[in-house]
């Protein structure tokens, strides 16, 4: 049942001054909401809005702009009740749309009009677009999955330190400065802030940029700043002394130097040569070994010796931090990391023999031979060169966990370009493993044990006790020669000693 409510000029806000109507914001016939401004009054320097006393429809306007008004005067009327059913119907909504010009405020707040009321429902396209931007991968096409996955992992890996570090550091910095508004930060507070941040998180913008540009693992850079902070100079010094991986241009040049045509493959096309599983794992291994050792590749092995003292220290210093961040740090992670550096320095090792040429891979997809209940599996860390030590440790943990549970998929063991067998874990000092075909080399790591070694010190030669391990590289002599094996091993051992 409709009734009418008067719009009354306010009593309290006029303070005895002259009041006039400046403008109506609503037209007769328009629906109005309770408390919505209806008209504006002006007094001396002050403008007052008069709001709707009730929801309804404006049916009468009794004063026009310029009219002087008195407190308590009736300015207009609202019909209440009758239009409520209209508002719910499409007709009511249509009326609102029909006069957008008279509704500047509410129009601005509304989303673009959708006549069918469908504005709320997002289209399927925009929805999936949003999801994939958030990092989800399309799963339908395995080929696309592979390339997207690889790209994704590289981006995540590169962005890791920057993203994580920047979020935290900004937060801490803000807190610090808000707390301490006087003469900059005090040493105590700064120290406190420093201690809360791990080494990797305490990076300045300049270092953060270097880390991102060069894909550096900050935990590996010795920090000379306060509390071991990695300064820009530290990061630069580290960059200069680390072995430079050959650029893609260099690789092209090396590959193109010979007379024979050489195919330089992209990881997602060239490494698709997988070995076919047999009915039992044993048979499979047997066949594979015979194939490799006796029918395919003439094996040659070189032996080096690595000093793992620095690795041991670094591991001890970072184990807890890694654990806190979700990865178990093991010697194997350092081996993978060192293998990447050596492979990048001697890229021909990372290859496959073809009768008409050597296929050199750009990515270091490193297989880790692992003993399981009924034999041996070789899960692969793909694109290990794009991973930090943390990234390697994380992936290793994932693979070994699943290997123990028998949950590895075929996919996990494909696309290897190089293999490490850590035979020392079961006590072996030196071994000559068989190459995991169709790769060109395999690295064997013997048992780490403390040995007396002779070192030159400033006081002359000295006996030192160091954790040592024999490292072997077995190569396919068709593809590679001893000097390449030796140069690989030399870089590999140096990389381990540099921690």
């Amino acid at each position: 049942m409709a009734h009418y409510v008067d719009i009354i000029a306010p009593e309290d806000s006029q303070e005895g001054t002259e009041t006039a109507v400046s403008a109506w914001m609503k037209q007769v016939g328009e629906p109005v909401e309770k408390d919505e401004p209806l008209l504006e009054l002006s007094t001396d320097k002050v403008n007052i809005e008069v709001a709707a006393p009730q929801s309804g429809r404006l049916t009468e306007i009794l004063v026009k702009p310029g009219d002087s008004i008195e407190p308590g005067q009736v300015l207009g009327r609202i019909e209440v009740g009758a239009e409520s059913s209209d508002a719910a119907s499409g007709e009511g909504a249509g009326e609102v749309q029909a006069s957008p010009g008279s509704l500047p405020r509410s129009a601005a707040a509304r989303p673009p009009d959708r006549p069918d009321g469908g504005a709320d429902a997002q289209s399927p396209d925009s929805l999936s677009g949003a999801r994939s931007e958030l990092g989800g991968q399309p799963q339908a096409d395995p080929g696309a999955s592979r390339s997207a996955g690889i790209g994704q992992s590289r981006r995540q890996s590169q962005g890791h330190w920057g993203l994580r570090g920047s979020t935290k550091t900004v937060g801490e910095g803000t807190l610090g400065s808000a707390r301490d508004s006087s003469d900059s930060f005090s040493a105590g507070q700064a120290e406190e802030a420093r201690q809360r941040l791990s080494k990797a998180e305490r990076l300045s913008p300049a270092v953060r940029r270097l880390v991102k540009e060069h894909n550096l693992d900050v935990t590996r850079i010795p920090g000379s700043g306060r509390g071991g902070r990695v300064t820009y100079a530290d990061a630069q010094a580290y960059l200069q002394q680390r072995p430079q991986p050959p650029s893609p241009e260099q690789q092209e040049r090396v590959a193109g130097d010979g007379d024979e045509p050489v195919v330089v493959s992209r990881p997602d096309e060239g490494v698709g040569h997988r070995f076919v599983p047999h009915t039992t794992m044993r048979r499979k291994i047997a066949s594979h070994m015979v194939e490799s050792m006796l029918k395919t590749a003439p094996h040659v092995t070189a032996v080096f010796e690595a000093d793992l003292a620095n690795v041991a220290d670094h591991l001890a210093a970072n184990r807890d931090d890694f654990l806190r961040r979700g990865a178990k740090l093991t010697y194997t992670a350092y081996l993978v990391d060192a293998a990447v550096q050596a492979l990048q320095a001697v890229p021909e090792i990372n290859s496959r023999w073809h009768d008409d040429g050597l296929e050199i891979f750009a990515d270091c997809n490193i297989g880790i031979a692992a003993a399981v209940d009924r034999g041996l599996v070789v899960p692969v860390i793909r694109q290990a060169q794009a991973r930090s030590l943390f990234g390697i440790a994380q992936k290793l943990q994932d693979l070994t966990d699943r290997a123990r549970k028998g949950k590895l998929s075929e996919e996990d063991m494909r696309y290897g370009t190089f293999t490490i067998t850590n035979h020392g874990v079961s006590g072996s000092l030196i071994a000559t493993p068989i190459i995991n075909q169709p790769q060109s080399a395999i690295l064997g790591v013997g048992k780490i044990e403390k040995r007396v070694v002779v070192r030159e010190t400033k006081d002359g030669d000295a006996f030192l006790i160091r954790p040592m391990a024999y490292i072997t590289l077995t190569i396919d002599h068709r593809a590679l020669d001893g000097f390449q094996a030796n140069s690989f091993l030399s870089i590999f051992c140096q990389a381990l000693q540099r921690w």
Binding site: S42, S204, A206, R208, T231
Partner: protein
Amino acid sequence: MSKLHADFDWKRAARLILTSRRIDEVEETRLVPEKEVLYQFSARGHELIQVLLGSLLDHSHDAVSAYYRSRPLLLTLGVDLEDALAGPLMRTGGYSGGRDIGVVCNKPSETGAEGQTVTVLPMSGDVGSQYTPAAGWAQASLYRRDVLKEKEWDGAITVVLGGEGSVATNGFWSCLTIATTLKLPLLFFIEDNGYAISVPGRLQTPGGNIAANLESFADLAVVEGDGTDPADCPAKIKQAVDHVRGGAGPALIRLTVPRLSGHSGQDTQAYKSSEELEQERQSDPLERVREALTPSVLSEEEWESLQTEVEESVERALERALARPQPEPSGVRRHLYAEQREDGSVEVSMQGGLAAEGHEFPASSHEPKPQGNRLNMLTAIRMTLEAELKSNDKLLIFGEDVGPKGGVHAATMGLQEAFGPERVFDTSLSEEGIIGRSVGMAIAGLMPVAEIQFRKYADPAAEQLNNLGTLRWRTNNRFAAPILVRMPGGYFKCGDPWHSVSGEVLWAHAPGWQVAMPSNAQDAVGLLRAAMRSPNPTIFFEHRYLLDAPVARRPYPGDDYLLPLGQAAELTQGDQLTIVTWGAMVERCLRAAEESGKSCHIIDLRTISPWDKNVVLESVRRTMRCLIVHEDGLTAGFGAEIAAVLIKEAFFRLDAPIERMAVPDLPIPHNVGLMNAILPGIEDIAKKIVDLAEF
């Protein structure tokens, strides 16, 4: 009906009064409701006296300092109808090209067929600020006549207009003191309409009548009249103008008028009773002029047709004004400072400063030629002032105690003796007056060098300083007022909250100023000379400690040495840390760097507006660490600005947080121990250097 004063052209007066009235009506009834004019100030009721005054200003070097209700005067002085309308409409052209309120007026002197027109000084929007610049013009007119021997300035007068509310302001009293003590040809034209917005005149001066109260003021002629009565006020106005033009010193005339409108378009005048409003309507000067002129001067028909004619001409002008384009937003940043054209020449303002009259300076050199013994900074400053006084006869030096005493810091020692009391002189104790007067002098084509005795004493001049900074921008390059303000400050052997203030950041924040803060005698000479020859106003901060500090002493670099503002000095080369500093902190940073053993690149900014961003950025991008040290307070000190710029421009080249060292947010204490506890000390700075270098 008494006879109309014969010295006035009453037909012209009638036309002007009707024109002004018609513009107000059109604005009030059409343009304000239509929101074409957003800020309307009506002159209704004030027309008669202004039109009469304007018709008496016939000297090419007369100047007027106007206020909010001065449109009738501006029309009388020849402001084009279309321009007068375009201002409130915020269109291009006019007084400010849409930058300022339409009635905040100005009018450069122009030479046309009828000779050179009167100058309307660039008005400011704050009531009371119109006074002391008028005193400056008046004093300059005597200087040009007597010292520069420019005969054409003889007989020029200055008129400053104000309402009865303005007689309560600092500016009024400061100006009154200057005008009467110096017997300046200055007329105070007080249009008393009874209200300052809503506040009645009795709260502005006891009894509400400034003329009565000034009756006994020495060296001031006082005149009073009814500003609505065509039989009374013309003679009174003429009497006052003649008194001043005759060289008998200043006069004040108070004319009562009704304000037939609110203060502005927004004011409904609810504070006036209906009887009072009716009484004001009854005393409308327009009606009284009509009564007086018809039929003896104009027949009723002629009056009617004049009215119609005026209405039509306003209508035509309004159409043209409305057709003018809106000002181009891309141009809004222009003309805060003097701008250079592509060929390197300066785009000079129409009036104000030495440049507008084509002054040529002796040759200068950016190469110092140090000669002789080291001088302290004080002597170097005095020698530079002396050299510029010698080579530029338009340059004046003034302030408190700068005359026979030679300044409380002795920077002007002997200069009055050498150059005379017209060029080097003491002023009354009013910083508002010192700076306001400088503005008027600069607009009159002189180069004022004002001394503010201590930095803190610039506080009373804040309004004039701020208005001067924006003057060129506000008038869209019609006017400029380059002046030099020397102000000693900073700590000395002891400190205190009054004599040791720095606070230089204030004028880096205030638009339009150049701020120099030299750390040694050679830089002081070069920057001082640059400032005295600059087309822009400059604050020249003389640090009290440095005036005689051995570390600031240098050989005199020559009378032609000029150091452009905005060039930092790189004092030491280093790669571990950049230190940005200026003023008295330069020495402390040099010593702290040495003590720290770190390799520091120390930059003495020398000027903070403009500041040498490039040198600082280049250095910080290299060292990746930066410490900023200044004596001014920490919070929102200029170091904060530098730090913000570095964070943005060198973000990825920062390897440590940017650090600031400054006095904490406190006044400088008097006790030496207390003072040293809050000034950044050498050891504190050294510690901070180590802290940052090893961060």
